[in-house]
């Protein structure tokens, strides 16, 4: 299996994630888009590990860390979103711009 394909897939997922982050108003969907980006990273890591036949398995371990931390981040992120929702009854990101300039 050519590694190019895998890499292309990950680049694609990564870009789609970026689009989601930039275009979606709902904070939760933005979080989901970021998860997609992180998964793109994981695909890379694991694929490279397989490609290089690397014995220390750093790629896979790295991926494990990413998954774990992504989950933790998501927890905090959702807490923040809920906090905002509680105060303003909206989770639209572009309405959150009290502070500027």
């Amino acid at each position: 299996m050519p590694v190019q394909w895998v890499l292309l897939l990950s680049a694609f997922l990564f870009s789609v994630g970026i689009y989601g982050v930039l275009a979606r108003r709902n904070a939760v969907i933005v979080l989901m888009s970021i998860e997609v980006m992180l998964n793109a990273v994981n695909i890379n890591l694991v694929a490279f590990n397989a490609l290089l036949q690397e014995t220390h398995l750093m790629g896979q371990i790295f991926a494990l860390f990413v998954i774990t931390i992504a989950a933790a981040e998501l927890g905090v992120g959702l807490a923040i979103v809920i906090l905002i929702y509680r105060n303003r009854t909206t989770v639209s990101i572009d309405e959150v711009s009290l502070m500027k300039w």
Partner: protein, 160 residues
Amino acid sequence: MTPWVFIGVAVVMSIAAIRLVTTKNLVHGALYLVVTLMGVAVVFLLTAAEFVAWVQVLIYVGAVIVLLLFGLMLTKAPIGRTALDNDRRGFAALVALGIFAVTGTVLWTSFEGKEIQVGHSVTTEQLGTELFTRFVLPFEVVSVLLLAALVGAVILAKRD
């Protein structure tokens, strides 16, 4: 056979990902995310990372999606295109396309002709050994991190 499986999974994942960022229905979006994440797990399996694939399924599909669904419900997200997208979609698409073009080109041309040899799968034991010797420190740090995240999420989310 593997390449064909991969292509099939990749196509499904891509479509799901696109739907995720374009759907009008938030809950549908979460379901598309499930599809994408499952696809990633399949890719892991295809690239000899069995343990990571199961972790992916367990943590992402099992925990994260549920968490996200809770999040969606708690914030009573509105449904409908105007509410879900901001007015810079074209711009965002342009940016995303640009990034994809740049990274895609570089990666495609740089890794020309390299094949992934899917030989023996990595055993969990191997992985565990590495994790608890060489990477024990990050591991421990992550545990503190999880603790901090836990505490943090709780104090942020709880009502005073």
